[in-house]
């Protein structure tokens, strides 16, 4: 299990991490989300040892993350980085060896991942000659080539085309199923919702929402989406414990608190005109995200 405990990090006057706590168990695929500047990248850098926290601890399986542990982590930095003029296979072997693999083992792993990610034909090409999508695949291979027990990926889906997104998703699910703890950050909340078993929402250097995605959705305010053919002024009479959270193309989305009665809201809506459609749903992750950050985000 990866444990980030009470991490603090300050850059000048900016507090990047403010007693951040996070636990990710083996086999868990955890989405790490938050607004820009929330502290995601700093937390991930602390987890892999690239940044040293001012206070707090990072541990894997009860052991402080030292060099030995870091060699078993697969890391994809937010800003991609590879030697542009180095050949793909040679570069991956080099990185695998820096993680402690023997030469033959590194070569075998490289061939496996080149094949798995569809890069075999480009194995001897310099990285700079590859398309951006293929460079992303090489970057993923670099994070995986040494059989890590923990994957920490900063915005791995950023800039990927839909096919590459599918490949990346498959690989992450495979790794998690194989017992690898996977943490990845993303702004694509729908993707995180579809892919992840759990999620951590970070804001201002702290985890403000953490848990199993399905449980969080079940526990969150349900959404009633209503459209009527008439005056939208009915929303002015909404009862307490409800809140309009969106109006799109005539459809009003009402967040229902724990005590709110959807039937009461529907009655109100009908007062405005005939119902066009009505749907009661669990909240989307993006809605939970907004709820968690409601004091800071513009409505």
């Amino acid at each position: 299990m990866l444990v980030l405990e009470q991490l603090q990090r300050r850059f000048g006057d900016v507090i990047a991490l403010d007693r951040l706590d996070l636990e990710v168990v083996a086999g868990e695929l955890c989405g790490f989300v938050g607004p820009n500047g929330a502290g995601k990248t700093t937390a991930m850098r602390c987890a892999v040892g690239v940044t040293t926290p001012d206070a707090g601890t990072v541990a894997w399986e009860g052991r402080a993350v030292d060099l030995e542990v870091r060699r078993r982590i697969g890391y994809m930095p937010e800003e991609r980085g590879l030697y542009p003029r180095m050949r793909v296979a040679e570069q991956l072997v080099y990185l695998a060896r820096l993680h402690g693999l023997r030469s033959a083992e590194a070569a075998a792993n490289v061939e496996f991942w080149l094949d798995r990610l569809g890069l075999t034909a480009r194995r001897d090409s310099p990285v700079e000659e590859l398309s951006l999508g293929n460079q992303q695949r090489v970057q993923l291979a670099a994070a995986l080539v040494h059989d890590p027990v923990l994957l920490i990926l900063d915005e791995p889906f950023s800039g990927l085309d839909p096919i590459a997104v599918d490949v990346m998703s498959e690989v992450l699910l495979e790794r998690a199923a194989a017992g690898v703890a996977v943490v990845f950050s993303s702004h694509q909340l729908d993707l995180v919702e579809d892919l992840c078993r759990s999620v951590a929402v970070v804001d201002a250097g702290r985890v403000v929402l953490r848990g199993d995605v399905r449980e969080l959705k079940r526990a969150g305010d349900r959404r009633l989406r209503v459209a009527v053919d008439g005056d939208p002024g009915w929303v002015a009479a909404l009862p307490v414990d409800t809140e309009v959270v969106a109006r799109v193309n005539g459809e009003v989305t009402v967040a229902l608190g724990a005590e709110a009665d959807p039937g009461e809201v529907i009655e109100l809506a009908r007062a405005g005109g005939p119902l066009l459609h009505v749907r009661l749903e669990e909240p989307r992750l993006s809605e939970l995200f907004r709820d968690a950050l409601q004091d800071r985000l513009p409505r």
């Binding site: 892999v48 940044t51 060099l67 930095p77 590879l82 180095m86 993680h99």
Partner: protein
């Protein structure tokens, strides 16, 4: 995995990448070929022709070195001197000053003034016969041995011909050797400056490449920053040494070929000194370049941030050239122990002034220990600056963050 293995992996990658560059390898081979041709030219043009008359190998009566003598010189003394250094022309002079005045015009005069009761060697002409020079020492020894072997003057020559005699170590009386050493000193200083500048630039660009391409973040996630810097410096140092050997081994081999036996002794050994001072100079300047390189992210900023190192290198280079004009001066001696000028100044002294071995060892130790001390500081700056991209990082900020 041990630090040594990691550093070796990093160094090996640097070596592979550089040696894979056709431009780098091609340029090195072309320059080496040009230097080899240049080295062969003097022999081809007869500059070092062994048959050419030299100080101790007179060919014609008119070229005989003249020896000023106060009072009488015995036959035995003259025989001993001639046995030692070849035929001479004896000129009787009134006293030492008169002898010096009379005998300083010709370049091959041996102004050894021999008086009754005392024997004084003076060397106003400086270059060919100064106290401690080979010829002066030989004359002095010949006079001393002349008394011992007054009945057998040829023995003097036999004894002095033995290579174990100290006279073999004194130095530069042979004009061909003096010329060669002067050339080596000049070329050595230029070469050191050129390669140190080139490798400082190569290091800084290598650091910027890793920083600019962001691969460094991937690397430091698994390799301590100091190991990374050490591996890079070691790898590029090996490349530099290989390049130095490639550039200089063929021309030196040409100079030392059996056909070129007339090439002055000891000149070939200066090649080793050049390589040695390259290693020490590289160790010193490379760590500075690595530390400074971590402060910037773009190649166009490299030269600006490298300015302090360049100033030091240019300063050392100028000191080296000044030392050539006065290799035995206090300035040259002091400069040869100051770490930033030692690679240049001590090389010059080795070429032109025959410093004691311990002086060379002390200068090397000072330079290398300074490099070791600088490595600690440079590593801290490297650690503080390497992950910060974008605008140039201030030295103080990097130091604090490291």
């Amino acid at each position: 995995m041990s630090p040594g293995t990691t550093v070796r992996l990093i160094a090996a990658r640097e070596v592979r990448q550089r040696l894979r560059s056709k431009l780098f390898v091609g340029t090195t081979l072309v320059i080496s070929a040009l230097l080899t041709v240049l080295a062969a030219l003097p022999a081809l043009l007869g500059v070092f022709d062994p048959d050419e008359p030299a100080v101790d190998q007179p060919a014609e009566e008119a070229d005989l070195p003249r020896l000023g003598v106060v009072g009488a010189m015995s036959v035995a003394e003259r025989s001993a001197i001639e046995a030692a250094i070849g035929p001479i022309e004896v000129v009787e002079v009134a006293d030492v000053d008169a002898g010096a005045a009379a005998l300083t015009s010709a370049t091959n005069d041996l102004v050894a003034v021999v008086g009754p009761g005392e024997r004084v060697l003076v060397a106003p002409s400086g270059q060919l016969l100064r106290p401690g020079s080979v010829a002066a020492t030989r004359v002095a020894e010949a006079l001393a041995l002349g008394e011992l072997f007054s009945e057998e003057p040829d023995r003097v020559g036999e004894v002095l011909a033995r290579p174990s005699l100290p006279v073999e170590e004194v130095g530069d009386v042979d004009p061909a050797e003096a010329t060669a050493r002067l050339v080596v000193a000049n070329l050595g200083v230029v070469f050191l400056f050129a390669v140190l500048i080139m490798y400082a630039s190569m290091i800084i660009n290598g650091v910027i490449e890793e920083k600019g391409s962001r691969v460094v973040e991937l690397l430091v996630a698994t390799v301590p920053v100091r190991w990374l810097m050490t591996g890079k410096l070691l790898g590029l140092g090996i490349v530099g040494l290989l390049q130095t050997l490639t550039l200089f081994a063929p021309p030196l081999a040409v100079l030392l070929l059996p056909a070129g036996e007339a090439i002055p002794r000891g000149v070939g050994g200066l090649g080793v000194a050049i390589a040695g001072w390259f290693v020490a100079g590289y160790a010193l300047y490379a760590v500075i370049a690595a530390g400074l390189g971590s402060l910037v992210s773009r190649p166009e900023e490299a030269q600006a941030v490298l300015t302090p190192a360049n100033v030091l290198m240019i300063g050392g280079y100028l000191v080296g050239f000044l030392a050539i004009n006065a290799p035995s001066s206090t300035f040259a001696v002091v400069a040869s122990f100051v770490p930033f000028s030692a690679p240049y100044a001590m090389l010059v002294r080795q070429a032109l002034a025959a410093p004691a071995w311990w002086e060379v060892a002390a200068a090397a130790a000072l330079t290398l220990s300074s490099a070791a001390a600088l490595t600690v500081g440079a590593a801290r700056i490297y650690e503080g600056g390497i992950l910060r991209t974008g605008a140039r990082v201030r030295l103080r900020e990097a130091w604090r963050a490291g």
